[in-house]
Point group: C2
Chain length 90, copies 2
Amino acid sequence: MADKRKFLICYDIVDSKRLRRAHRLLSDIAMSVQYSVFEAELSNAELQQLQEKLMPCIDSEADKLTIYRLFKTNAKIDLAVHDDDELLYI
Amino acid sequence: MADKRKFLICYDIVDSKRLRRAHRLLSDIAMSVQYSVFEAELSNAELQQLQEKLMPCIDSEADKLTIYRLFKTNAKIDLAVHDDDELLYI
């Protein structure tokens, strides 16, 4: 099975129709972290397909869509979840 | 000089007063990538200070704020910037 890597996809899409389309597309293959931010595990081929599908959703003048590669483990702090006095290290 | 690492900070903050406070705080030390998403290079001490400052801005019931550690290089695709037919690899 192709090696999968972890990615974060975040976007600012102005037009509501394009926004819904991107959101629907991502909801099928990724986990919603917060509004307009998704985490996904993708092979290289899946990453290319995702780019091809998302490109028509983006107006390069008005919108932003960034894909970040993430570390697989120990690379995330969720500030809303842990106790107030416990600072986290990643 | 302390070794700095790259982080992504993204948030969903419901209350406008808390939202402005977090945005102001982050604008001082990080680069705005898009609405409610910032990139920052931080030492461990700076990461701890940032958590301490951001915690009062977060209502753990209503809000989300996630800090991701990022790779330093070759780890980002900006779909709105490059040519339509050019798929990027990271």
